[in-house]
């Protein structure tokens, strides 16, 4: 009872619960897409093009007669898993880069930070355009590209956390007692930075969804035959000009809802753990 009271009192916990459950609903809807949707998301029905939302097609059909509702559910599978997997890559790269830089320090640290600054000054979307021009499509290459271009913020956080923790008494004590370097990194430095890394990873998930959606919208992301939230918006502005507003509005709402819940969740986590920056 007491815990319950405390739970309701703490604003951040409440927020985490609220936005976390919205996100969970979105994820579950994508996971159980095959149970929830009555239509095949890739089934073309040219007699049923641009039909408005109704009992047969809950959210209408697109320019090729495909059911918008089931495409949103199946698209979520792609968009969300691309985001999570790419963040796994970017977080690992960020921990490795920031960890080396923060742990070793000295001239190597300042050189690595200069390189990081230079990477940060290159517009990411432009690098991706260049990369995407070679590998051309494929879900896997998308994951790799987003992962390899999004590690900078994680590296920054890890580096500053490591550099700060390194000066702490308990780390110095561990070193004096002869603890090997890798063990200090694993048990002291990394474990104490985990909450910061987790929060930045949550924000990176939102960024990854954003990037996938933008690239697919430009026609350079997920291959067109696979439904993804960005792909659904690819031709939406033409559909809208012909009056079929549901083709553009509903997938976008889904994107906004998931980004909102991820961002608010990250914000609440950040406040709860009192993490600066990010």
């Amino acid at each position: 009872m007491k815990r319950m009271k405390k739970f309701i009192k703490d604003k951040n916990t409440r927020r985490i619960f609220l936005w976390g459950s919205i996100l969970t609903v979105i994820i579950l809807m994508s996971v159980f897409a095959n149970l929830l949707s009555a239509h095949n998301p890739t089934e073309v029905d040219l007699k049923n093009v641009f039909s408005p939302p109704g009992p047969e097609n809950l959210l209408g059909t697109d320019g090729m007669g495909r059911d918008v509702f089931s495409r949103i559910l199946y698209g979520g599978r792609i968009s969300l898993s691309v985001s999570v997997l790419s963040v796994a890559i970017s977080t690992s790269v960020g921990i490795a880069f920031g960890g080396v830089s923060g742990y070793l320090g000295g001239w190597l640290d300042s050189a690595m930070m200069r390189i990081l600054d230079a990477f940060l000054a290159v517009p990411t979307l432009i690098v991706m355009l260049a990369l995407q021009a070679i590998v051309k499509g494929g879900v896997f290459s998308m994951i790799l590209i987003i992962g390899l271009t999004g590690w900078m913020s994680t590296a920054r956080i890890v580096r500053s956390q490591f550099a700060e923790l390194k000066q702490k008494e308990f780390v110095k004590a561990a070193r004096v007692l002869g603890m090997p370097g890798w063990k200090i990194i694993m048990t002291h430095l990394l474990r104490n930075s985990l909450s910061g890394i987790f929060v930045i990873a949550v924000f990176n998930c939102a960024n990854a969804v954003f990037t996938e959606v933008s690239l697919s919208f430009l026609g350079m992301g997920i291959p067109p035959h696979i439904p993804s939230w960005g792909n659904m918006l690819n031709n939406a502005q033409n559909a809208i000009l012909t009056g079929a507003w549901w083709v553009g509005v509903f997938p976008g709402l889904m994107i906004v809802m998931s980004l909102l819940s991820i961002n608010f969740l990250g914000e609440a986590l950040k406040r709860k753990y009192g993490i600066q920056g990010g």
């Binding site: 200069r114 600054d117 230079a118 990477f119 940060l120 000054a121 290159v122 517009p123 990411t124 979307l125 432009i126 690098v127 355009l129 260049a130 990369l131 995407q132 021009a133 070679i134 939102a206 954003f210 959606v213 933008s214 919208f217 430009l218 026609g219 350079m220 918006l233 939406a236 502005q237 809208i240 000009l241 009056g243 507003w245 553009g248 509005v249 976008g252 994107i255 906004v256 980004l259 909102l260 991820i262 961002n263 608010f264 914000e267």
Partner: protein, 322 residues
């Protein structure tokens, strides 16, 4: 006399440009496709091998990578970016046509963003706990969760389809032939979308800084000593602007990423739309040129923000300080 701060930043700018050039060159170099493919599309397979080799030799793609990179970099420095595979025209000429449009869109949006974000952020930051303060925080998260192109689609739906007051694409209409008023009408929607999707983020940043600054010791002492509130606000604002300008510099690259999407959505014939087109059609000289020019604009904008922060922060003007 140039301070060491500016020297460092200039050096970094050069490093960034070198990085951009290497990335774009190396990446594009590894790409499949050759000039023959770009010129003839799928028909390129029907070319005789010798003919295909001859075409590729004309464009010089049969030489080693390093040779080509230095050749290209050298030509770049002399302002020669080669010939577009697709259009057969000089890349410099194509870029020159597109550049003014991008600069127009960029400068209009960034000026409005700076003006609005400072106004909103100061309002929210000074009245802590007010509706402005909390409203702005929520507004900024909500708008940073809306993809700019989707917001743009909604704007097209509202202003072009339903109300029919603003054009949905292009930089000028064919019928009215590009008068001043016509161009401005085409500018409204892209700028509106750019500003609304970005302003919250910047406003929130300056709001947080102002809040931090108001709580600091020197402000409390000044207030206790009975300094006029207007005078205090001036001091707080000046100190809050330093990190703000810095933040502006950091986010400019991301801002250009956003403008690529906006330009494509509104068919705004600028550099962003051009690079997407070049990437889709695998027109590598054009893509490399567009990437380099974008890199140069980014570096120059970052330098401008550096100079602005030097003007605001006397500490940076002194020699030898960080």
């Amino acid at each position: 006399m140039i301070s060491s701060f500016l020297m460092k930043r200039l050096l970094q700018g050069v490093m960034v440009l070198a990085l951009v050039s290497i990335i774009s060159f190396a990446v594009i170099n590894a790409a499949p496709g050759d000039p023959a493919l770009a010129l003839f599309g799928n028909d390129a397979q029907r070319l005789a091998p010798s003919e295909r080799a001859r075409i590729n030799h004309i464009y010089g793609v049969d030489e080693p990578v390093m040779v080509r990179y230095f050749k290209w970099a050298n030509q770049m420095l002399h302002g020669d970016m080669g010939v577009s595979y697709r259009e057969g025209r000089k890349v410099v000429q194509i870029l020159g046509e597109r550049l003014p449009n991008t600069i127009l869109l960029f400068s209009c949006s960034i000026l409005l963003i700076v003006a609005f974000s400072i106004a909103l952020g100061v309002r929210g930051g000074l009245c802590e706990g007010s509706i402005w303060d909390r409203g702005l925080s929520a507004f900024s998260i909500v708008f940073s969760s809306i993809p700019a192109f989707w917001f743009g689609i909604l704007c097209i739906l509202l202003f072009s389809v339903n109300l029919g007051v603003l054009p949905s694409s292009g930089t000028q209409s064919l019928r009215e032939g590009g008068g001043m008023a016509d161009r401005l009408r085409h500018l409204v929607l892209p700028v509106l979308v750019m500003v609304t999707t970005h302003v919250g983020l910047y406003a929130r940043f300056i709001q947080e800084k102002i809040k931090d600054e108001s709580k600091s010791y020197y402000v409390r002492v000044a207030r206790a000593n009975g300094l006029k509130e207007g005078f205090l606000v001036k001091g707080i604002l000046k100190n809050a602007l330093i990190p703000y300008v810095n933040y502006l510099g950091i986010t400019i690259p991301g801002f250009f990423g956003g403008s690529i999407v906006i330009e494509s959505l509104f068919s705004w014939s600028g550099l962003g739309q051009l690079s997407v087109k070049a990437a889709v059609t695998r027109d590598y000289p054009l893509l490399m040129g567009a990437l380099m020019v974008t890199g140069i604009i980014v570096v120059v904008s970052i330098l401008i923000t550096d100079i602005a922060s030097m003007a605001l922060n006397p500490g940076l003007r002194r020699d030898g300080s960080k």
